[in-house]
Subunit: 396 residues, 4 copies
């Protein structure tokens, strides 16, 4: 496969040259000043991306899954009750993780395509008068369905129930691509990773942690060492790491933040909206439907698209890869074979997106799906050219 | 500008990752065995690309223009007569170079859009009974007009005139992208460069030189030192260079040849034809015309496209760059403002080409050129998907 | 600091160019065949480095500490008893990890500078007639003291006691640099990482796991998700990962194995011995002592060196860094200020080592330590030049 | 060979990471603003390195030899007389180039090891009352002998003779490493390249040209096209190139200038002096002699060192390479076998130099040259540690 065709999986993303270069840093002594002087500002800068002033940023050399584990084990004890809604593969996996860690998980099953059920949460939390529920877990952007949930609404539901539960948010595939307001939304732990909006290689879990979450750290009884906030924070306090740090990713993070701030976070979000909206126009032109059930749920980083019953979405993604060397996301879990996904996040331009749309059209035609070649492309082109003024061109 | 939008200038080309990596070689001693063992096979392998068994490959750390100068100065003497046809900016520049070197240049002016005038050459050479004409100079692929000339026909014209003139061919923008048969076509010097079909950085002139050309080297009186074949060949004989070699490019050439041979030269040519044909389908769909006047002249590495009188092609290429961050070739010389060019050579895929076509459509629409968005894209998609079997997918 | 002075910390190591290039791979779809075809052979090849036929290789995107956690949590249950000797900072940390995970840790405290106390282990295990001890944990190479323990002797001690305990070995700073014979020594879990003998960036824990260890996986009750062997093995079975894989490191591992096998593992070990022995000759010439108490304990990857009481080893390493831009290892834990460390592992040559020895001599002289400049260098030079034939030159 | 042993050839130099990264730039449109905005400041910044305000900087994609040819062909006409002293291989080659270009070359033969004979030049120029001599050619730093000539003295000689000849200076291996004052010394054309003090890959000839030299451009009759100042200057005026520019090298130059100016040119020169002086101390300790005949001629970028009659310097450099993987410069021309060279220019540290000295000591001992191992290293260590304050540590 050509290294030069963009990928359209919903992360890891295409890595822009600036970040590929930044990650090429030769080994340096991580106990020496140069590292310290790089790492501390990275933690500080990342706070802006989370939208927190009061919280802390804590990173681990792990994937987002490791970040989830860190969130749970540093704040909860065996048998603690947590409330989670399942509306996609990633919320499903988070539930599984909680169960394996010995938590008592109250699951609210929603249709895949729906977002976090703030109303149900409010009812449940209101009924939980003994405050047995210790935490509410929400996926901001469910990568499997392309659904963005309203975190602010969940916050308001918790508050309406006057419930003290912590609120944990999975923003792995939304942070640095879609607006995130940790402090404003009262998020206690937000979990993300290096390989999505930060446009880096996989390998760093990135968490924003509120003071409220930090306050329960010492009483949390779930065992943890590698993911212990306390060791990490103690070491970070003097610019260090409790074990060998992922040097290349930290230098990469430094440059990623430079890129994000140079473009401006608002411009980054506007660009992602614009790219996503072009994809949605194409989907409409193809007369296909998003999995997300209503416009306010549409994700700007990934679109999950239903195919008709008689058509196999896996055949489509396989063929796009085999015939044209372009990767799209497959349908996960119950959507396998029924939906495919177009990732449109990170270092991406309208021009690159159009190549993805053109590719999927060819693949559909090859598989005798009744499509007018160029129809989706034209819809996206029309939108992109008319919306130029709304986004900066300095994507990467 | 994003480093990730492909460029569509007719060279230098998008550099594939394999070659970017290969050119990252740290400085090594160019008098040491490792260099010698790399360089000698590079020269040998390049012969296959030229299509020569008997000839020699000679390289200089220079651009293609330097290659032209090397061709002329190593074989001709002041006042020598050469025959050249002018049918584009690059043939024009070669004429200029010959004049500056003190040669007596007989120019055959052709319409830009035509190819090498084999018939006229035959007449002229037949009339040159004293064999004053020492060399016939032909651009195989005129980059300014997107015209591929029939070198075999020129050879036959020279032979029909029973004329002993040397035949020099500029294949800068065709070699390693379109078929080239140096021995079969009786080419005496073929001049190319690193930054086109070889997909490398600019900086190496690459020449194929016949035994017949080498035979006149000692009697050629044009002064040269940097470009002297003899010094280079003497040094090459023991694996060395008469001065500091462009190490990174030579290691890059080594890997470029690996890529070309892995794909197979015939597959490389077929891929270029396929990519170019898709572009031509789009141009037809847009109801625009190529500068090249007939199908057998169509270049597979670059298409030069006329715009109507009332439209400024420079505005189009400027706008595509400024609004979408995509570079196309401008019209050169007498075509400036009247034509633009789409380069489609080197490490390129159908998917990447479609993004270029989609971009130029948006740019045309933005400038109120009456175009149906997606029309050219659809024509190319249709062709690409139906012609998949004709080319390998392992472009890069 | 110059990126070109080598570092002499005991890992992460200087990354050779081949591996820096290999890790530059652009994002690819980790569900696509190219990844699968790379990853499976990496797992297989790594088995050779561990010295196992029957065991499995399991990797996690984490540091070595994460590898320790994975070893423990996949095989043990809360309250299980483990036997560990403490003879350096890293064995100390592993003990700490076990305690945090709720294990009952029987610690054998040894002098720092000693190795694993096989005899004491045998007594303890023999006395444990109810087989309460579920695992024996040993650091093969204690990075803090430069001590290599005799794992075979520990195996024989366990066997002599006819004890069924599992044996876990930390080989983070020995694997791929010093001989390791997992099957022969009866190691049940061997824990290593990407940033030492494999010469890569930090970010991948690499474990060798015996069938005996795998057999207790399902009954082990310590909670784990991110580090669960079962998910990883299930996903690996079809060439995948249970979450986003560290793509760049896996491609890097692939090339690292190529390098190791091209040099030959035995040659790799011989090179490390030779480099280390030169360092030891220098230490003798300086009339300083190793922390390791006897020659059979000398590590070939790191030398920890005592300084006299009146001298501060931290001042030495600080000065070497500030004045000459060269990093050495500081003394850890109880050795802080009393010893410094020279790392000599990974992609290193005799020539590079000599520059480190010359640097530390200058730094000592600057701090008025009574040293004859060049004395250690000369001792190492003498050894290196006489021992040339014993090791390959193709280090990197 | 390890990519990590430094090389000690007198150029091309070890390329520091910052410049390796800078040269990795993907192909961009060289007619687009981004290139223009990079290139113009590069030309302006390079003027500072030459030490010229009034002059112009002109670059060609070629080696230093190409730079010589450009100097000569743009200012002289066939049969013009030039005055050159021969005191090494590179001055010899420049003479050869002038002769091939049809110039009338008056050669002053000096001992190899001497510098430019200002006194003889003054006599010859004074005697040239008809001003037949059009140019005086001088190598500032004769790379073959490690001799730095006094350009100011040559200027004064020309002035004392009241002679209007142009003065051309080869500063290929001195510029950006040793002080160069083009305007002050009245240099008319200074010729350098990318691969020495600029620490880049080979491939760009870099010239400083005075207004006086530019004034004769139009009357100069030597043929040139590729190297024509006028085309280059015309194209440069609008930020462009008359042919495809060596993009990667120009972006590399940009970063090289950043590095040089960040360190400060005076600090760069002081660092080179300090590194060179350490090497000279080692040579004294070895009881060997420099080719350069007196201290004011000592080059700070390369030391050429005589070996005794009974010893073959080629055997020494071969052995150092084969046994230790380290490259030194061989003796060139009449010094072949009689002298070897240590290059100490570019991105180099004292620590790296010590490894070179240690290597050559081992190689000498291996070949039974009577040397005390560590003796040269100790002499250099002593000097380096005492002279620390005299140079910045931020070499690279």
């Amino acid at each position: 496969m050509s290294d030069q065709n963009p990928i359209f999986i919903p992360g890891p993303t295409n890595i822009p040259d600036r970040l590929r270069l930044a990650m090429q840093v030769q080994t340096r002594d991580h106990r020496a000043p140069d590292f310290v002087e790089t790492f501390a500002p990275v933690l500080e800068g990342t706070k802006k991306v989370f939208g927190t002033r009061d919280g802390r940023v804590i990173t681990f050399p792990a994937s987002g899954t490791g970040g989830w584990e860190a969130a749970v084990t540093n704040t909860l004890s065996p048998g603690d009750k947590v409330l989670v809604a399942r509306y996609g593969m990633f919320s499903h996996r988070w539930i599984d993780l909680c169960q394996r860690q010995g938590l008592d998980v109250q699951v609210v099953d929603c249709a895949w395509g729906d977002g976090a059920p703030a109303d149900q949460f409010e009812s449940i939390l209101s009924a939980d008068t003994h405050h047995n529920i210790k935490a509410v877990l929400v996926a901001h952007n469910e990568t499997a369905t392309g659904v963005k949930s309203d975190i602010d609404a969940v916050r308001k539901a918790v508050d309406a129930a006057s419930h003290p539960a912590l609120m944990f948010v999975d923003c792995v595939s939304s942070l640095a691509s879609m607006e995130f307001r940790m402090d404003e939304w009262g998020v206690d732990i937000a979990v993300s990773g290096s390989q999505k909006g930060f446009m880096l290689a996989t390998g760093m879990a990135i968490l924003g942690v509120s003071q409220k979450a930090l306050a329960v750290m010492d009483s949390a009884k779930l065992p943890r060492t590698f993911f212990d906030f306390r060791d990490m924070m103690n070491a970070n306090a003097s610019g260090g790491f409790p074990y060998t740090p992922p040097l290349q990713l930290i230098y990469g993070m430094n440059e990623s933040l430079n890129m994000l701030f140079e473009e401006g976070l608002d411009n980054v979000y506007a660009r992602h909206f614009r790219l996503a909206e072009g994809v949605r126009r194409a989907i409409s032109a193809w007369e296909l439907s998003l999995v997300a059930t209503s416009p306010e749920l549409y994700s700007d980083t990934v679109s999950a698209i239903y195919v008709p019953d008689w058509f196999d979405s896996n055949a489509l993604t396989d063929h796009a890869f085999n015939a044209y060397g372009v990767s799209f996301g497959i349908g996960l879990g119950q959507m396998n074979g029924k939906a495919f996904r177009i990732g449109h996040l990170g270092s991406l331009t309208d021009v690159m997106v159009l190549s993805g749309l053109a590719t999927i059209e060819m693949a559909m035609a090859d598989l005798e799906y009744p499509i007018t070649l160029g129809s989706g492309v034209a819809a996206a082109q029309d939108y992109y050219r008319k919306s130029q003024g709304t986004a900066l061109k300095t994507a990467a």
